[in-house]
C-alpha cells in the first residue's frame, strides 16, 4: 500500500467511525434538559433524572435551570445554537385571535412555524394526558408540540387560620367582607396582606382574582377591550379600578412594594400578616418556611355576589417539548415517556402542587385539597388571552401595581381614563383611523 492510499484510508476511517458511534442508539448520550427555577420542581427533577439514568445507564441528563423570566430568551438562544434537547415550555397562550388585527404572534407560535419543535402527535404517552389540556396548551394547527404537566391557580388568597380564629374574623366571601376583615387586622396593628412587590408582577397576581370576579369570562373581556364593547373607564371597569386602589393602598402592608417575590411566602408564614394573595405555586414555599403553620386558600372575593367569587382563574404552567433538531430525539422521547408514566407524574404533581393534566392523577397536596372544592369552576385568566395592539400605551392594562405606593397613580378615575386613552391609541393605530 503506497503512502497516498494509506492517507486516503485513514481519512475515510476518520470520517466513518464517529458517524458509527453517533448513530449507535445504545452509545453514551448526554440529554440536555432546560427548566425554569421553581425549587420543589428542580428538586423533583433532579431526583427523577437520577432514577432515569439508573434505568438507562447510557443516558446522562445535563440539567440547566434558569429564572422563569429568562426561560424564553434562553430557550430561543439554545434552540438556535442546537444546544438543547428537551425544553420546559409554558402552556401555549396569548394566541392572536381573528379580531386582533396586526398583532404579533406569540413566541411559541413563531418557534413552531420555524420548525424548531418536534411533532409529538403520534407519541403513545400522549394517551396518559387529558385531551382537553393537550388541545388547550400544546396543540397548534392540529399537531401536538408540547405536553402540559399541570395547571396553576393565581387568583386566590392564602390566609392565616389561627389569626382569623384569634380575632373572630369569618372567611370573606364577598368584597365587603374582605374589606371588613382587613379593617379588623389593621386596627389590631397587623398588616392585612403582603406580596413580593419588588419584583413587580407578584403584586397583581392576586388582583387577577378581583378582575376575574368582575369579568368572569376573561376571553370575552379581552375581546370586548379590542372591539370597544368594554372600556377601561366604563361603569363596571370603574368598580374594578376603585377596588384595585383599595387593594393596593389599604389592604397591602406598608413596605410590600420592596419585598422580593421569593421572600413574600416566608413573611406570610412567619405570621407577620393575615393574608397573602398569590398563586398556588407558593404553597410549597409556605410549607417549607413553617411546616406547622396552619393556612387555607380561598378565591379572591372581588365581587359583591358570593357565587361570582366561587371559582379560580389560572393558567397552564410547565410543559415539555423536544427540539426538532436534537441529535438525541430517541433519548428525549424516552425521557418524556418515563416522565409521563402515571406513578412518576403523580410524584411530580405531589411535589410541585400542580393541578394534574393526567386524569388518573389525584390532588394529594394540601393546596390541592384547598383548590379542589372549586376546581369545576377553573378558568384560564386574562394574562393568557391578552395581546396588546401595536402602538398601545403603557398604562393600558388592569393592574393594581399602577397605584401608589407601587406606582404613581392615586386617582382611580384618572388612571381609568388614561388606561382607556392608551388602549384607544393602539386600537386607532391598528385600525388605521
Amino acid at each position: 500500500m503506497n503512502k497516498f492510499r494509506l492517507i486516503a484510508l485513514t481519512l475515510v476511517l476518520a470520517l466513518i467511525l464517529p458517524l458509527g458511534v453517533v448513530s449507535a442508539q445504545d452509545g453514551p448520550v448526554t440529554l440536555r434538559v432546560l427548566i425554569h427555577q421553581n425549587p420543589p420542581m428542580v428538586e423533583f427533577i433532579e431526583e427523577f433524572n437520577a432514577r432515569f439514568t439508573e434505568a438507562n445507564p447510557n443516558i446522562t441528563v445535563d440539567l440547566s435551570v434558569v429564572n422563569a423570566n429568562d426561560l424564553a430568551t434562553v430557550t430561543q438562544t439554545r434552540l438556535s445554537a442546537g444546544d438543547i434537547d428537551v425544553i420546559d415550555i409554558f402552556g401555549f397562550s396569548n394566541s392572536v385571535q381573528p379580531y386582533m388585527s396586526g398583532a404579533t404572534p406569540p413566541n411559541w407560535q413563531v418557534m413552531i412555524e420555524a420548525g424548531l419543535l418536534l411533532d409529538l402527535t403520534d407519541q403513545p404517552f400522549l394517551a396518559n394526558y387529558d385531551p382537553v389540556s393537550i388541545q388547550d396548551s400544546g396543540m397548534y394547527n392540529d399537531t401536538v408540540y408540547a405536553i402540559n404537566l399541570g395547571r396553576v391557580v393565581y387568583s386566590g388568597i392564602y390566609y392565616n387560620k389561627d389569626m382569623f380564629t384569634e380575632f373572630g374574623v369569618e372567611i370573606p366571601t364577598t368584597w365587603d367582607e374582605l374589606v371588613a376583615a382587613c379593617e379588623v387586622f389593621t386596627a389590631e396593628g397587623i398588616g392585612c396582606m403582603t406580596a413580593g412587590g419588588a419584583d413587580g408582577w407578584p403584586i397583581f397576581v392576586g388582583a387577577y382574582g378581583l378582575l376575574g370576579s368582575l369579568f368572569p369570562d376573561q376571553a370575552a373581556y379581552v375581546e370586548g377591550l379590542w372591539t370597544g364593547d368594554i372600556k377601561f373607564n366604563d361603569e363596571q371597569s370603574m368598580v374594578m379600578w376603585e377596588r384595585m386602589q383599595i387593594y393596593a393602598r389599604d389592604m397591602m402592608e406598608r413596605g410590600a412594594s420592596g419585598i422580593p417575590g421569593d421572600a413574600a411566602p416566608g413573611r406570610f408564614a412567619s405570621g407577620a400578616v393575615a393574608m397573602f394573595p398569590g398563586g398556588s405555586w407558593y404553597a410549597s414555599a409556605i410549607e417549607s418556611a413553617e411546616p406547622d403553620f396552619d393556612w387555607g386558600y380561598i378565591p379572591f372575593p372581588g365581587s359583591d355576589v358570593v357565587e361570582d367569587n366561587q371559582g379560580w382563574f389560572g393558567k397552564y404552567d410547565q410543559g415539555w417539548a423536544i427540539a426538532a433538531g436534537s441529535p438525541n430525539v430517541e433519548a428525549a422521547l424516552l425521557y418524556l415517556e418515563a416522565f409521563s408514566e402515571p406513578e412518576n407524574y403523580q410524584a411530580f404533581v405531589d411535589a410541585v402542587g400542580f393541578i394534574p393534566t393526567q386524569p388518573t392523577a389525584t390532588l394529594n397536596t394540601k393546596i390541592g385539597g384547598e383548590i379542589a372544592q372549586y376546581l369545576d369552576n377553573f378558568r384560564v385568566g386574562y394574562e393568557q388571552y391578552w395581546v396588546a395592539p401595536t402602538g398601545v400605551g403603557q398604562w393600558a392594562s388592569p393592574f393594581a401595581s399602577f397605584f401608589a405606593p407601587f406606582n404613581e397613580w392615586d386617582d382611580a378615575a384618572a388612571l381609568a381614563d388614561r388606561a382607556q386613552s392608551d388602549l384607544q391609541s393602539g386600537l386607532d393605530e391598528v385600525s388605521g383611523s
Partner: protein, 306 residues
C-alpha cells in the same frame, strides 16, 4: 518622505500584525453593529429559522410616531437624558473630589482607593443584589437609618426608584472616574505646586490654575466615558426595579422589546427588528451627544494646553 517599513515582507508585516485585531473588531464590534442596522428594517423575531421580511422604515415609524407607545418611547428618551446628565455630573464631581483627597499625603489612602474602586469589579447583578438587600424597606439597613430620623421610605418600591437607581449607578462606577483622575493627578509635576506655593497661591488657586488645566486629558476622558456609559446604561434597572411603567430608560425598552419582557410577568413575542430600530435611535442619540461633547472638550483642550 520615505515609507518607514522598507520593502517586501517588511512592508507587509505591519498589516499582518494589524490583521488579527481588525478581524476581531469586525467580528465582535462592527459586524453586529452593521447587522443591527440591517435588522432594523425587518420584522425579525430573533427566532432561528423564522421568516424575516424587509419592512422598510416601519419599525422607525412605529417607534417614533405610532400611538401612545411612541410618546412613551419619547418619555423614555427624556428619562435617559435626565439619567445621563445626573449620573455623569455627580460621578464626575465625586470622582474628582475623592481622587484629590486620595492623592494627598494622608494615612489609609491605599485602603480607600481599593474601597472606592471595589464596586467596579463586581458585576451588575451583584451590585444590584447588594443594594436590594440594603434598601429592603422592612428592617433593612437603610430603612433603620431613615427610621432613626423619624422617616420612612419604600426605596426601590416607591416612585423614587428612578433616583435610587441613579444613586447605585454612581456608586457602581465612580471608582473608574476616580482612578482616571488619580492617574492624571500623578502626572502633574510637584515642582509646579512648589512654584505656586512660593508665589503665595492659595489651595483654591493651586487647583484652579495648576491642577485643573493640567487635568484636561483626564477630564475629557472621564466626561466622554461617563456620558456614553450612562446613556447606554439599563442593566441596573433590570436588577433593581424590573420593567415598571414610568421608570424605563431607552436601553431597557430595547431589551424588553427584543426579548419579550414588556408585560412584567408573561413573556411576550420577541421583536428584535423593532428593538434594533430602537437601538439605532439610541446610537444616534449617543453619537450626537458624544460628538458634540468631544468637539467642545477638544476645543477646550487646545485652548488650555495648545
Amino acid at each position: 518622505m520615505t515609507y518607514p517599513f522598507g520593502r517586501g515582507w517588511q512592508r507587509v508585516t505591519p498589516y499582518l500584525l494589524l490583521a488579527p485585531g481588525l478581524l476581531l473588531y469586525f467580528l465582535i464590534a462592527l459586524g453586529p453593529s452593521l447587522a443591527t442596522s440591517l435588522y432594523s428594517f425587518t420584522d425579525a423575531s430573533g427566532v432561528a429559522g423564522a421568516p424575516v421580511n424587509f419592512i422598510g422604515l416601519e419599525n422607525y415609524r412605529e417607534f417614533l410616531f405610532a400611538g401612545q407607545a411612541a410618546r412613551d418611547n419619547i418619555d423614555a428618551l427624556g428619562r435617559t437624558i435626565i439619567f445621563s446628565v445626573v449620573v455623569s455630573s455627580a460621578q464626575f464631581g465625586l470622582g474628582l473630589l475623592v481622587a484629590i483627597l486620595l492623592t494627598q499625603q494622608l494615612p489609609g489612602t491605599r485602603f480607600f482607593r481599593t474601597l472606592f474602586f471595589m464596586p467596579v469589579i463586581l458585576g451588575v447583578v451583584i451590585q444590584g443584589l447588594i443594594w436590594r438587600l440594603f434598601l429592603y424597606p422592612l428592617g433593612g439597613p437603610a430603612s433603620k437609618i431613615v427610621e432613626m430620623f423619624g422617616g420612612y421610605s419604600e426605596f426601590l418600591g416607591s416612585t423614587d426608584a428612578f433616583w435610587w437607581v441613579i444613586f447605585v449607578q454612581i456608586w457602581a462606577n465612580m471608582g473608574i472616574t476616580m482612578i482616571i483622575f488619580i492617574a492624571g493627578l500623578q502626572t502633574i509635576s510637584v515642582d509646579l505646586y512648589e512654584a505656586a506655593n512660593i508665589d503665595g497661591a492659595s489651595a483654591w488657586q493651586r487647583f484652579r490654575f495648576v491642577t485643573w488645566p493640567l487635568l484636561t486629558p483626564s477630564v475629557n476622558t472621564n466626561l466622554i466615558l461617563n456620558i456614553i456609559g450612562s446613556l447606554q446604561a439599563w442593566q441596573l434597572f433590570l436588577v433593581l426595579t424590573g420593567y415598571r411603567q414610568g421608570t424605563q430608560v431607552l436601553g431597557y425598552v430595547i431589551y424588553a422589546q427584543g426579548f419579550g419582557q414588556t408585560s412584567g410577568s408573561v413573556s411576550n413575542a420577541f421583536r428584535q427588528g423593532y428593538a434594533a430600530a430602537a437601538s439605532i435611535v439610541l446610537f444616534f442619540l449617543v453619537l450626537i451627544i458624544g460628538m458634540t461633547a468631544q468637539y467642545v472638550l477638544r476645543r477646550r483642550e487646545e485652548r488650555l494646553l495648545g
